[in-house]
């Protein structure tokens, strides 16, 4: 009632004299066009980025005589040699090895932390632990890299064979970086589970362990996996911290303690030193294109997992 009254009033105020739109219509039009403008701007930005990377990244294959198979399957990367070789397999391997290993380290930690914060001590979890973990997400990656170089690398060097730098050092640094992502998403997923589920389970005489392991975790599993995949995606795209601790030798390592490279680390190492338009520079754009496609794949997996959550 009240609404219609004010609306009528507004109409009658703006009516006399002019044929302009009523005030609320004008407001709505303004709001709509503003929102539309924002969306259009976003879409334009996203498409121009994809177009730009693709146009640069495809040049080696289209006009500089590099075969896609040679790049994806090649083992030797020597872009500045007289006959340049552009095998990117070591970087693909390095990226997958470090980010998957980081997820293997971080996923159990993050999910268990989330269980503790939601099921065991919800109050402490919400007031102290969660802000602390979210704080981790705000630490700049160069700080992680420097801590990795000053703490993790010397530790590995003194206790394991090799020079400390390598896949394991990269994975350890990345696992700390993606821990907040995994924990936060897992916590949200566990908190939104219907309370009736757990109450029903307890009412049937199940212990806390039984409830957690047979009911809570299986029900929330797709959401937990979403967190893990997002974590892997973040690890895959991280450049600076990894570059500082992984060693950056363009070869597939034979052990966890040997120097290796990732797609991102090789791009950050060489991009500034190459001139735009040169084969080396374009090959780096190809690596960037591969990275972008991998990101799309991760987003796709996350959507797939989210679809499963909705059906449950």
């Amino acid at each position: 009632m009240n609404m219609t009254e004010t609306r009528l009033q507004a109409d009658s105020i703006s009516m006399p004299g002019d044929r302009r739109l009523p005030k609320h219509r004008l407001e709505e039009l303004r709001g709509k066009s503003y929102v539309l403008l924002c969306v259009l701007l976003l879409i334009v930005i996203i498409f121009s980025i994809v177009y730009f990377i693709a146009s640069r990244g495809l040049t080696p294959f289209l006009s500089q005589g590099v075969r896609i198979g040679d790049m994806l399957g090649g083992l030797k990367w020597s872009p500045e040699a007289d006959t340049p070789l552009l095998g990117a397999l070591p970087f693909l391997f390095g990226s997958f090895a470090t980010s998957l290993l980081a997820a293997v380290i971080a996923a159990p930690l993050g999910i268990c932390a989330a269980l503790f914060m939601t099921e065991m001590m919800p109050k402490v979890g919400k007031n102290i632990l969660q802000p602390a973990i979210e704080l981790l997400a705000g630490v700049p990656s160069v700080v992680y890299g420097f801590v990795g170089l000053s703490v993790v690398v010397p530790f590995l060097r003194n206790n394991f064979p090799g020079q400390g730098v390598g896949v394991l050092a990269g994975a350890i640094v990345l696992s700390v970086m993606i821990l907040p992502t995994i924990t936060t998403i897992a916590t949200d997923a566990l908190r939104t589970l219907p309370a009736g589920l757990k109450e029903g389970s307890y009412a049937l005489g199940a212990t806390r362990w039984q409830t957690l392991s047979r009911l809570v975790i299986p029900t929330a599993l797709p959401s937990l996996m979403t967190g893990v995949v997002l974590g892997i995606a973040r690890a895959f795209g991280e450049a600076l911290a990894v570059q500082m601790v992984i060693g950056n030798a363009p070869h597939i390592p034979h052990s966890l303690f040997q120097s290796a490279s990732t797609l991102t680390s090789i791009i950050t190492l060489s991009m500034g030193n190459t001139t735009s338009g040169s084969l080396h520079n374009n090959a780096l754009w190809s690596l960037a294109l591969i990275l972008l496609l991998m990101t799309f794949l991760f987003v796709f997996i996350v959507r797939l997992l989210e679809g499963r959550v909705k059906r449950v």
Binding site: R30, G31, Y34, N248, A249, T275, G277
Partner: protein, 301 residues
């Protein structure tokens, strides 16, 4: 009010994004005060950036209506941008002819070289290797992976750990060309880092490590190796007895004029050469008793 502010912000953002596309920084917009005005953007080599930055600040103190911005980005990016005309000065660690090759060779011809300083590079090692002098042949053997243990070059029984630079790095190009005389490979199990600070940290901490650094980065945490018995010092470089050095270049597209010309002349004036250049660990280009051309031929001045 709030809403119009929001709309304004978005518009401003959109316009500034659109403005990114074109870049017309004219550098002689008119005369005032000292007679020089305009805006200059320099981009490129991060090794040269601190010097240009310091010099530009001093230059702007006396020439109030000139504004100079100094960006990093790497030698390659600097050369590309100055060739495209998006910046007025492209800073580079190497000759433009060495970066802009093959299809881009024409771009290099349009660029004018201004050599403003000399940077010398020394091979450095961890302090525990038991060697303080290496010959050219020994260095080549080490950097191509033929020598894997320090005892083979007269040092301790310890594994050699290579700390190299990326294949595209200007520092590596200089080291390969004048110290090794050949291109080196990226070997498995070697470490590659671009930042000099990181290289120094890794060499100082990793037993048996060897790398190379510009003289300004040498300190007590690492050991500078003699090359063929010659110590890497400013005097030896200037006299031409220590061969591992390179010019720092500031490239312009075509001959510079106006404020740009004045700034480049200021860079090689004694005021900058004897103060900032020395303070920041470079070698004044005026002190050099020898010169070197693109092909690497050295001749007395």
């Amino acid at each position: 009010m709030k809403k119009s502010l929001l709309v304004l912000t978005t518009l401003a953002l959109g316009i500034s994004l659109a403005a990114c596309g074109k870049n017309d920084n004219s550098n002689n917009a008119g005369a005032s005060g000292s007679g020089l005005s305009g805006s200059i953007i320099a981009a490129g080599s991060t090794a040269l950036q601190p010097l240009v930055d310091a010099a530009s600040k001093k230059f702007m103190e006396t020439n109030g209506s000139v504004s100079i911005t100094v960006n990093g980005g790497g030698s390659g990016a600097g050369l590309s941008q100055v060739a495209e005309g998006t910046v007025q000065i492209g800073n580079s660690d190497v000759f433009a002819e060495e970066k802009l090759k093959d299809a881009d060779a024409d771009k290099a011809k349009a660029l004018v070289d201004h050599q403003v300083a000399v940077v010398s590079i020394a091979a450095v090692s961890n302090k525990d290797v038991g060697v303080d002098n290496l010959t050219k042949a020994q260095l080549v053997d080490i950097f191509t992976g033929k020598v894997k243990n320090w005892k083979d070059v007269g040092g301790k029984d310890e594994k050699v750990v290579l700390v190299n630079r990326p294949a595209s790095s200007g520092t590596r190009a200089t080291f390969e060309k004048y110290a090794l005389g050949a291109k080196s490979e990226d070997l498995p199990d070697s470490i590659t880092e671009d930042a000099s600070g990181t290289v120094r940290k890794l060499v100082s901490e990793t037993p048996g490590a060897i790398g190379y650094l510009a003289l300004s980065y040498l300190d007590d945490s690492i050991q500078a190796l003699k090359y063929e018995g010659v110590e890497a010092t400013t005097d030896n470089v200037a006299a031409g007895t220590y061969p591992v050095w390179a010019y720092e270049h500031m490239y312009t597209k075509g001959e510079p004029d106006g404020a740009l010309k004045a700034f480049l002349e200021y860079m090689v004036s004694d005021e900058i050469q004897q103060k900032e250049v020395k303070d920041l660990g470079y070698i004044p280009v005026n002190d050099m008793k020898v010169t070197r051309d693109v092909q690497g031929n050295v001749s007395n001045k």
